[in-house]
């Protein structure tokens, strides 16, 4: 059966840490970092990459457009 696997790239050094992407992810892929970036924000990152479906919700809700989404179909 084919499975959809996704991955995101966050512009971590520009992320403003608003957390909206984290709450918008239906798979709980995203968490906020413990350390801060150069603008002193905790940034979003993929804490559970294996769960990402590439649904694009996080990227659609990022006010600043800091997320890109990639998606592949994996034959199992």
């Amino acid at each position: 059966m084919a499975k959809i696997q996704g991955a995101i790239v966050v512009e971590t050094d520009r992320c403003k840490g608003c957390e909206l992407c984290m709450y918008a992810c239906p798979q709980n892929v995203i968490a906020m970092s413990d350390e801060v970036n150069s603008i002193t924000r905790n940034y979003a990152y993929m804490a559970h990459p294996e769960a990402c479906t590439g649904c694009t919700n996080c990227a659609t809700i990022c006010p600043d457009g800091y997320i890109s989404v990639y998606r592949v179909k994996v034959e199992e």
């Binding site: 520009r14 993929m46 694009t56 006010p63 890109s68 990639y70 998606r71």
Partner: protein, 264 residues
């Protein structure tokens, strides 16, 4: 599968519009302005009209719009966006002209300009960001501020007896004959952002088809001015702002579709 094997150009399914510059938005973290600004760019990119579009940004948090788009933007004095848009559109009728106005702009200082542009049926798109407050200047009361809502100029909450009632302005504009399309949206969930995108597309297509004025209102948050986290502000907005400013179409193809007597 390792993310490294997925993150390749051929697997890209979402990126910000290529019509956005690389400048960092001046907006606060989690502010809805960024989403509206980005969604407009996506629509213009998909319609392929970037060489024929002129945006107009009056004063408000979105005043620096020209820094964020790769297409042309003219800055206008506070409240004067619709007057500037009228001039540009009449001189260059083949261009797509849109204004991007806050509630302090459209529903306070620029009410006259907006109302008359709509009444003349200027063939423009008006994008209206209603966050119930003057965001840029530090959170003063706007005409749209809800009853009881606290701002720096009504610290005990808006008292309608002395300060008037929240101004629900888009249904008023919808009653003008020159207006063909009025719709109200939000950007607090991905689904709502996608709906807004469709509405903006309709608005620009109306302009292409010379149908008159199209107004797309976005009920948005001002988490800084409201003194809340972005998430809490969005929740507060759903609970309070949507009661006074319910989402949905108000006028479509020149016909009023909203029940004006429905409780709000």
């Amino acid at each position: 599968m390792d993310p490294k094997d997925i993150i390749k150009p051929e697997n890209l399914v979402y990126r910000k519009s290529r019509l956005m510059s690389d400048n960092t938005f001046n907006f606060c973290p989690g502010c809805g302005h960024g989403l509206v600004v980005r969604t407009i760019a996506e629509v213009i990119e998909e319609m392929g009209i970037e060489h024929d579009v002129i945006g107009i940004s009056p004063v408000g948090c979105s005043v620096f719009l020209y820094d964020f788009y790769k297409f042309d933007v003219v800055e206008a004095a506070h409240g004067r966006a619709c007057a500037v848009a009228t001039g540009i559109k009449r001189v260059q009728p083949d261009k797509f002209v849109f204004t991007y106005q806050g509630d302090g702009d459209l529903a306070a200082i620029g009410t006259g300009e907006t109302m008359h542009a709509c009444n003349r049926g200027e063939n423009i798109v008006i994008v209206f960001i209603n966050n119930g407050i003057y965001g840029m200047t530090g959170g003063q009361m706007a005409p749209t501020t809800l009853e009881g809502m606290k701002t720096t100029t009504c610290p005990r909450g808006r008292d309608v007896k002395t300060m008037g009632y929240p101004l629900n302005i888009t249904p008023l504009l919808a009653q003008l004959d020159g207006v063909c399309y009025v719709t109200r949206h939000s950007v607090h969930t991905p689904a709502n952002v996608r709906k807004l995108k469709k509405a903006l597309r309709t608005a620009f297509e109306n302009q292409r088809d010379k149908k008159g004025t199209s107004i797309v209102e976005v009920v948005s948050n001002c988490n800084s001015g409201w003194g809340m986290s972005p998430k809490a502000a969005n929740e507060w907005m759903v609970e309070n702002m949507f009661k006074k400013y319910p989402l949905g179409d108000i006028k479509v193809d020149g016909k009023l579709v909203m029940d004006m007597n429905a409780p709000r």
